[in-house]
Structures are given as C-alpha cells and as structure tokens.
C-alpha cells in the first residue's frame, strides 16, 4: 500500500487580513442580519404610513432637521479616522492604530451626544400613536448600534493601548472598521426615512 502523500502547510502565515480572515466573515454575517433588520424596520415604517391619512398625523411636526443633519455629517466625517485606522491596521502600524482609534472614539462621543438631541427634537413621543412609535423605533434601532459600536471600539482601543497586543489583533481592528462603515452607511437610508419621508412623501 503506497504511503499517503502530505500537504505541508507549515509555510503558511498565522493569519490574514480582509476577506481571507474568519473575522471578516463573522462581521459580514452580522452586517447581513442587522441590515435585514434595518430594512424590515423601514418597510414597517412605510406600511404604517399607508394606514393613516396624514403623515405626520395632524398636529405633529416632522422631526427638526438640524440635529439629524448635523449628526449625519458627523457620522460621515467619522469614516475618515475609521478608514485611517483600518489602513494603519493592515500596515500593522500600532502607533497610528492607537491614534486613529482614539479619534474615532472622540467622534463616537460626539455622535452619541448629538443623537440624544435628535431624540429630543423628534417632535413626537413614542406613545402618541403609530407614527411616533415607528419613528422612535427606527431611531432607537440605529442608536443601539452606535452605542454598541462605540463601546466595542473603546474596548478594542483599550486592548491596543494597554495590551497585551499581538499581531492578530490588527485583524480585529480592521474588522471593527468594516463594521463601523456598516453602522454609518446604514444610517443614510434611516436618516432619509425619519427626516425626509414626512416632508417629501
């Protein structure tokens, strides 16, 4: 009986970035799940709208544009340090990773604080009627994402600063950046629906 041949993988690297990494696939799975959730919430919003004659209902002003628009800009701006952190991670540049992660966190504090102002300026309470409920639902769903994204980025930053740091952690930084992209970009249709649907449609 001939001996089995061998496939020697000892020369392979101990990890990889991008879609080669397992973490990327896990992140994409989460993006798929949560993206579906956002999409369904938007569909629910428009469904509820078909059941009432006035949108927003009589006596309710649409959400104020100021803080929502400002926050959209802040969120989009946060993509800059996010991309820089991602690029630094792929270059395995610890100093830059630490720097840009901290800048991202600063943006995170900002957009979470402004989000509180957005809630205050929705011009409707969640328990008034179905319009209020669905507006708060959309804003609330996205808020859970910016809060948790901020927290897990903070923990990641803490690990990269306080250590112990290892090379494979840079893959985690890269994937965190991918998720951050998702959270910001998913906001754009939500913003359109919450702030502009009551005005345009």
């Amino acid at each position: 009986m001939s001996t089995p041949q061998v496939l020697d993988v000892s020369g392979l690297p101990p990890g990889a970035f991008g879609s080669r990494s397992l973490m990327w696939w896990g992140t994409m799975g989460i993006v798929l799940i949560e993206g579906t959730g956002f999409a369904l919430a938007i569909v629910a919003y428009f469904y509820v709208k078909t059941r009432v004659s006035h949108w927003p209902p009589a006596g309710v002003a649409p959400p104020d544009l100021l803080w929502g628009t400002v926050n959209t800009l802040v969120l989009l701006a946060s993509l800059v340090p996010n991309e820089l952190a991602k690029a630094a991670a792929v270059r395995v540049d610890l100093r830059r990773v630490r720097l840009w992660l901290l800048v991202c966190l600063a943006f995170g504090v900002a957009f979470n604080a402004i989000r509180a102002l957005e809630f205050a300026h929705l011009n409707v309470w969640w328990d008034r009627d179905s319009y209020g409920s669905v507006a708060w639902l959309l804003l609330g769903l996205h808020t859970t994402h910016i809060v948790t994204d901020f927290l897990d980025s903070a923990v990641l930053a803490a690990v990269m600063i306080a250590g112990p740091v290892e090379e494979h952690r840079f893959v985690d930084v890269e994937e965190n950046a991918v998720y951050w992209y998702f959270v910001v970009l998913a906001w754009l249709p939500m913003y359109g629906v919450i702030y502009w649907a009551p005005r345009l449609i």
Partner: protein
Amino acid sequence: MNLHVASAPDPKRLAFERTWADPPGWRGRCAAIDHKTIGRRYLVTAFAFFLLGGALAAVMRVQLARPGHPLLGPDLYNQVFTTHGTTMMFLFAVPVMQGLGIYFVPLMVGARSIAFPRLVAYSYWMFLFGGLFLYTSLLLNAGPDVGWFSYPPLAESLYAPSKRADVWAQLITFTEVASLAVAVALVTTVFKLRTPGMTLNRIPAFVWAQVVTSFMVMFAMPAVMLASTALILDRLVGTHFFDVEQAGDALLWQHLFWFFGHPEVYIIFIPGSGLVSTIVTTFSRRHLFGYLAVVLSLVSTAFMGFGLWVHHMFATGLPQLGESFFTAASIMIAIPTGIQIFCWIATMWSGRVSVKAPMLWILGFFAIFVAGGLTGVMLAAVPLNTQLHDTFFVVAHFHYVLIGGAVFPLFAGFYYWYPKITGYLLSERRGRWVFGLLFTGFNLTFFPMHVLGLHGMPRRIYTYLPEMGWGPLNVLATGGVLLMACGVLLFVFDALAARASVGAEAGDDPWGAGTLEWATSSPPPPGNFPSPLTAGGREPLWDNPPDQPVVVGLRPGVRDVLVTHVLDAEPDHRQKFPDPSPWPLLTAIATTGLFVGSIFTPWAVVWGSIPVFITMVGWFWPRSASDGGTRPWPVAGRTLPAPGELPAAGGAI
C-alpha cells in the same frame, strides 16, 4: 481502510488530543467549547424539549378525545397549546437541526473545529436558558397563552394583561440570538475551513443544506425579532405598533411574523432534506444522483420560501391579484422539492440498497412528507384555503410535513450518526419497532385530522359540543399518541442502553459511508483530525486515491486550524483557535438577566447591559501575551500578509 494517521497510542497523537481537549470537571464543563460537546448538548437538550412538547401534546389529545366535560379549563389549555407550539418550533425543531450542524459540519468538511467556537458555546447557553425561562414561567402559571404566533390585538396588554405574552416575546429573543449566532458560525465554517480539495462541488449535500438554512436564518429571524420587540414595546412602554386605537395595525404583525414564519418551516425542512440526501447516498452505495440539481433545489427553495408568507393570511380579505401571486409561489415551490424527490428515487433505483434502520425512516419520510406536501398544495389554493384555514386540516398538514419532512429524517440521522457520536450502534431490532410504532402512531393521530377539518372542526379550541360528531375521530387521534409515546420511549431506552449490548461497538465507519466524518474514530477525538485528510471527490472515502494527501505542518501544542479559500479550498493561512473559556457561559447568564428583567421594566435594558458589557470584555480581553499564536508586540517585521498578498510560500502538494 483507516485513513487517519497512526493508531493509538502514539505520543504525538496523545499530545494533540490533550491540546484540543476540553478541561475536565465542573469548571471544564462550564468552559467547554469543543463543537462536538456543544453539538451533543444541543441534541440532548433539544430532544428533552421534544419530550416536553410531546407531553403537552399528549395532554391536549387526552383533553380533546371527549367532547364536553373537559379535563382542563380554557386558561390552562391555552397555555398548553401555546407552549406546545412554541416548544416544538423554537426549542426543538430549529435547535436540533442546528445541533446536528454544529456536530457534523466541521467533521464533514474535514475541519478541526467550528468557526467561532465560543460564540457557539454562548448560543447553547442562551438556548438552554431561554427554554428554562419558558418552562419556569409555565410552572408559575405564567406560561404564554395566546398561541405560538401571538397575534395582536389578543396579545396586547389590554386583552392579555399578565406577563405571559411578554414571556413568549422574550423567549423569541433568546432563541433567535442563539440561532443567528450558530448560523454565522456554520456559514463561516463551510466557506473558510474546508479541507483542501473540497471544492464547492464536492461539499456534501447535508453541508449545503446547513449553509442554505443558515442564510435563511439570517434573513428571516430579524423579522420575528423586530416583531416581538415591537410587541414588548407596545405592552411595556405604550407604543402603538399593533393596536388600532392609535393608528396601529393588527396586520403589520402578521406580515412581519409570517415573513419569518414561512421561511422558518423551510429552515426546519431543508436540513431534513440534507439528511435524506446523506442517508440515501450511503445506503444506496452510490453518489447522489443529480447533485447539482439537488443543491440548486435547496437554494431555490430558500429563495422562494421568502415569497410565500401571505398564504398564512388568505382569510384576511386581501386583494385577489395579490393573493394569486402567493398561490402561484406556494404551488411552485413544490417543484424544487419534487426535483429532490426524483433524484433520491433515481439514486436508489441505480444503487445497491440496504434497508438498515436509518433507511427505514427515509422510506417513512417519503410516504408522510409527500402526503403533507400535497395537502400543502391544496392549502395554497385560495378558495380551498378559506375553508380549511384555521381548522384541523391545517394541523394535519403541517404535522405531516414537519414530522415527515424533519422528524423522520432526524430519526434517520440519529440512527445513522449515533454510532459516530457515541461509538456504539443502536439496536436494529429495536429500531424497527421504534419506526413501526412511530409511523403507525403518527398516521393514526394525524390522518383523521384532515377529515375533522373538513367536518368543520376549528383549531385551538379547548373543547367541543357532543352533537358536532367529532368525537370518534378524536378518540382515534388520541389512540395514535399512545403508540407514538411507546415508540419514543423505546428509542430513549435504546439510546441509553446501547453500549450494554454485545457487539454494539461501531468502529470508525460501520455503514461504509463516504464522507469525512467517518474518516476518524467513533467518537472523534478532540480536534477531530490530527492530520486532516484532503478531499479527492464528493465522497472522499469512496473517491480518494490511495495516495490522497493528508495535511501536515499545523503547529503542535496550539489549537491550530487550516483556513482555506472560499471557492476552491486552497490552503490560505493557519489560525490559532481560542482555548476553552467560561466567558460564554457568564455572558449568557448576564444576557439572561437583561432579557428577563426587561419584560418587567425598561430600565433593565440600561442596568442589565452593564453585566453584559463586563462579561463581553472578559470574553474578548486577551489573557496572555501568547493568546493568539502570533508573536507579542512590538516585534520588527510582520507575519500576517496584507489583503492582496499571496500567502507565504505554500506547502508542497
């Protein structure tokens, strides 16, 4: 022919097993992350819920055997039927199929581990705690009582003032979190951890079924998560999603729920059809006929499954044109299922068939599932649906498709894989008795229900008047339950007693099957494959030439796993997998506190998040400088290639 490297006791092999073993003792059990341990836990726990759900069904059948003078009052009966349905759908059918996936998918693709093992461990605890939460509530007279589908306005706080409906809604959250986590892990495992040589067209049909199912889970479960969250919000903080007084809409619930609910039944059936493909292949001793057609059928069933949900709402008075679309889709989905059936028949026709115990269940599947599928086509027709909807005809239909299409293949899978999991064969003789009792009992119980529905008996009634004439058929249905119970008990006895039988040791491959889980010992060692076998065909143990390469060069002393490319399974890099950890259990406990608390007060969301955050930090925080298998920082020079770079000099083939 044993194809795994070396036989015991080899010091390298012992070291390998020690590296991969879960720690012993109670602390070890809390920290276990071996996918086989988690898979076994899923299977046992899901089966325990099957028994509980079955007991509730038996109570219902005893109640309905006689008209009038019922055993249970309506309040208790409503809790019983709701908990029965909720248990079977959320705590048995989906988890048991995912449990088989957790155990067998890594083995069948030749991997040493499932991807994200700690996440999978966490998912098990969430599943268990969710189920315990439900049954504790039932024992405290707070069991949900508005049906497994929980329609508002009945489920709103005005008509369901107690915590019962909140228990239901939160159970959904537990089980959906668990299922979604497993789905992500399975997809990643199949795409990235396949052994070299296992190109896409060599992936076993069961594994394809699990991938397709996992994608369905990811797209469908957010719908029910959203709906149940909205229901809790309506009940707890006064939102108005579903109550008509403040412009809410009762049908919104139905759309959201059934957008999940219809794919849910395919989430249950598709792994079953993967099991049928597996067992028909092995016991016909030939490759699956029409493999490509079967895989494409799985995929198209999954897609089409998302376009049928309105057929649960034909009685609501929707516009006719819309209804016709959903009728067409509901009828057409029979085509890919039919393709699979014809391919299975063709496989047997041109194979060498042996009817061992697993095969018996497949034959039972043919009879029962096809009948159920045909009544499904009947129900897809709107005019007929308006008569049969919400009657016992529907109860008969879905038990035929779910028990025929999932439970019978599941028992086939139990008989097939029990030797691999435990190292012992189940008794062929007793297996025939179990099959006979279950097949006969099932038909005796559920066939009469078609007639009862046609004779006007609606669903979800705790009793009925004697003059309706439904008594005799109900007695027959209850009689069947006795046979089924005997069959199930005999199975449990056999499963517990198997190792005591003489000659019951299984060996690596008692069935002479061809897929990779049979290329290792029974049960497989920790780490599954010291030297993973590469794949030279779809059934590697049948197709591999004698000199098919085995993988060497993974690092000893660490949990090293080979990661390959998605399409062609070429080796890409090696990944150090995490060590056992108690953090998944601790996080699950914290999450349970958050979920249970938040049905009582919205503040639980805030305060309950804190322990969850703490446990997740504990989970993620690196434990030592060597936790990751790469060198600690800072060190000059990098070893991880950038995204576009090819791997460092690959191994010789």
